[in-house]
């Protein structure tokens, strides 16, 4: 599992067509073993279809894919014994309890006798679900569902785990828990392939990212490379004294070393910049000059901005209030600097 030269996943010219839709359209991808690999793309990009092909749930119409050297079409059962899938939508039995679901999977995977309940209880406790063990899954909260879903995927520790949008729809606390779980998985040697619509999530977790759109990879690299290709982060400032906005513009210009744009909001300015130190200095200078900073946001480019940069058009996904500048560590609140 550790550092072998063999890639965890290799896809060549992969194609999957649903009627008129080319969900996966000549996709090439090489995913190294170990660590987290992020697949980033808007709604309908083909993320789920790709993952389902790799997990042997969907037959590709063209091209080839291997998991740890085993072809998904030629050796599906070998692939199934190496991978595990946590789908985008819950795939445990909602009518059964958490305990029953895990016991069911433990039995199906070959656990016998007392080991069945022991394994189920061990996982429930590790995932903080002991109290809910005997409740039907349909009564679980969103975060608990995600956890039971992931627990169900690691009854036997997989070599490769597919996580399809594991945090979509979760509150920040539950999302952080899922992130912690992903980090634990990686620490134990599992390769995690994670799809997401949030650049920030891929950035937090993934060592490498592929951006896909219309079933094709349109960019691939480390988060750093990707962000560099997109350009900088974005700084948005609203000043306390809008009448001195031009003065503020030249102060920021000096400190940031980039062009500062005046927004349509008469108090607002913005700049494309990713050097946090310069931003801090610029904001301090604004305060010092007496112009004052009312609010500001400094964050990574949103997925939409990445798309705009890569494809010259906006991503077709629904607006996601969670994404982009509203990021956990990308946003510094005003109080933080004072």
């Amino acid at each position: 599992m550790a550092a072998t030269s063999q890639p965890a996943i290799e896809a060549r010219a992969l194609v999957k067509v649903f009627g008129e839709t080319r969900a996966v359209d000549g996709l090439d991808l090489t995913i190294p073993a170990g660590g987290v690999y992020g697949i980033l793309g808007p709604n309908g990009a083909g993320k789920t279809t790709l993952i389902r092909i790799l997990a042997t749930l969907t037959r590709p119409d063209g091209g080839s894919a291997t998991v740890l050297g085993h072809d998904v079409l030629a050796e599906p059962d070998t692939v199934r014994s190496k991978v595990s899938l946590t789908g985008q939508f819950a795939s445990v039995d909602e009518d059964l309890t958490g305990m029953e679901n895990l016991r069911l999977l433990a039995k199906l995977l070959g656990y016998r006798g007392r080991a069945v309940s022991a394994r189920a209880a061990e996982l429930l406790s590790a995932f903080g679900l002991s109290d809910a063990a005997d409740k039907q899954v349909k009564h679980y909260s969103g975060g608990m569902r995600r956890r039971i879903d992931i627990a169900a995927s690691i009854v036997v520790t997989p070599d490769v785990l597919f996580l399809d949008e594991p945090t979509t729809g979760l509150d920040p606390r539950s999302r952080n828990q899922v992130w912690d779980i992903v980090r634990a998985l990686v620490a134990s040697g599992t390769t995690v392939l994670l799809t997401t619509q949030y650049l920030e999530e891929a950035d937090q977790l993934a060592g490498r990212i592929a951006v896909i759109d219309h079933g094709k990879v349109i960019a691939e690299g480390t988060p750093g490379e990707l962000k560099a290709s997109v350009g900088a982060g974005a700084l948005h400032v609203r000043v306390s004294q809008p009448d001195r906005r031009n003065e503020a513009q030249s102060i920021l210009n000096d400190h940031l070393g980039v062009a500062v744009t005046l927004e349509s909001d008469p108090a607002a300015l913005s700049a494309r910049v990713d050097d946090a130190e310069r931003v801090a200095a610029g904001l301090a200078a604004l305060t010092h000059s007496g112009i004052g900073v009312e609010t500001y946001a400094f964050g990574q480019p949103t997925l939409d901005e990445v798309f705009l940069a890569l494809t010259g058009r906006h991503a077709e996904s629904e607006p996601e209030p969670d994404a982009g500048t509203d990021s956990v560590d990308g946003v510094m609140q005003k109080e933080d600097v004072r």
């Binding site: 679900l129 809910a132 134990s188």
Partner: protein, 279 residues
């Protein structure tokens, strides 16, 4: 949701997760029988959580038996008691064959909810996901059969075949029901909604059960209908069950019933599994 669980306070514990991952070695793959039994266990757990399911195998057969015995008994055979001797094995077959339809409905729900995706991504004997629920259903059918036979005995049914004959009849019925269910599993997988599964099943079940010798002897029917009734496997089954229960079974009918069962499985099991694998 009113009874969502109380606050989700317990966080996942990373060290325990790491420990759990370390001990997650793959055991030996289970045999196809134990995989099927595990899946059957899942079906029975569902009955525990959704006991309303048992209405289908208790209230429904009781209603059918009472209704048809008293509706038709007097008119068709002079007395209800006399009719019951002829009719009870028939209504038993009718009830069980009708309940098999729920197999397809249940499967459709699992399929749509993605539970099957989980099973399909496991390295197991895949037909167990279908065979298991069918085994669970056999338990339901046994309950329904017991209910009907006991009710029959109370109403005056007196089988000459004794316990052995009655049990033999029920077992043959269970074998046929298992085989017939593969039609519904196929529909459960290829149709989009439970409603359409229900609709198609009804459309097939009504002619199959009513154009049979369940209610009346085919000699009273017009020639074309009599011809159909004679080649209807449900009629073979009813004749066999009647024969077994009354101790005058004709081997030929039993053989024909078993051959029909085998043919149903031979055709519909592979089609079901193809639908299960494809998506």
């Amino acid at each position: 949701m009113s009874d969502t669980l109380a606050p989700d306070q317990t966080p996942a514990d990373i060290d325990s997760i790491l420990a759990a991952l370390q001990s997650g070695e793959r055991p030996k793959r289970p045999s196809l029988i134990s995989a099927s039994i595990t899946q059957g266990w899942r079906a029975l757990l569902k009955i525990k959580h959704v006991p309303e399911q048992l209405f289908d195998v208790t209230i429904f057969p009781i209603m059918m038996t009472l209704m048809f015995t008293y509706l038709f008994g007097g008119a068709l055979a002079g007395s209800t008691k006399e009719y019951l001797q002829f009719f009870l094995p028939g209504i038993l077959v009718q009830s069980i064959v009708f309940i098999t339809m729920y197999t397809g409905v249940g499967l459709n729900v699992d399929h749509e909810k993605g539970v099957f995706d989980r099973f399909r991504s496991l390295p197991i004997w895949h037909p167990s996901a279908i065979v298991g629920p069918l085994l669970g259903d056999a338990v339901r059918y046994s309950i329904a059969s017991t209910v009907i036979v006991v009710l029959g005995l109370i109403l005056g049914f007196r089988p000459d075949g004794g316990v052995v004959g009655v049990v033999g009849g029920v077992v043959l019925l269970l074998v046929f029901a298992f085989s017939l269910s593969w039609i519904w599993t196929l529909f459960g997988l290829i149709l989009r909604t439970e409603k359409s599964v229900m609709g198609v099943s009804m459309m097939l079940l009504f002619p199959l059960t009513f154009a049979s010798n369940i209610f009346v002897s085919p000699t009273t029917m017009p020639g074309w209908l009599e011809a159909f009734v004679k080649v209807n496997p449900i009629s073979w089954l009813v004749t066999s069950v009647r024969g077994l229960m009354h101790g005058n079974a004709d081997g030929a009918d039993i053989v024909k019933t078993l051959v029909a069962s085998a043919v149903l499985v031979a055709i519909f099991a592979p089609l079901t599994m193809r639908a299960y694998r494809r998506k």
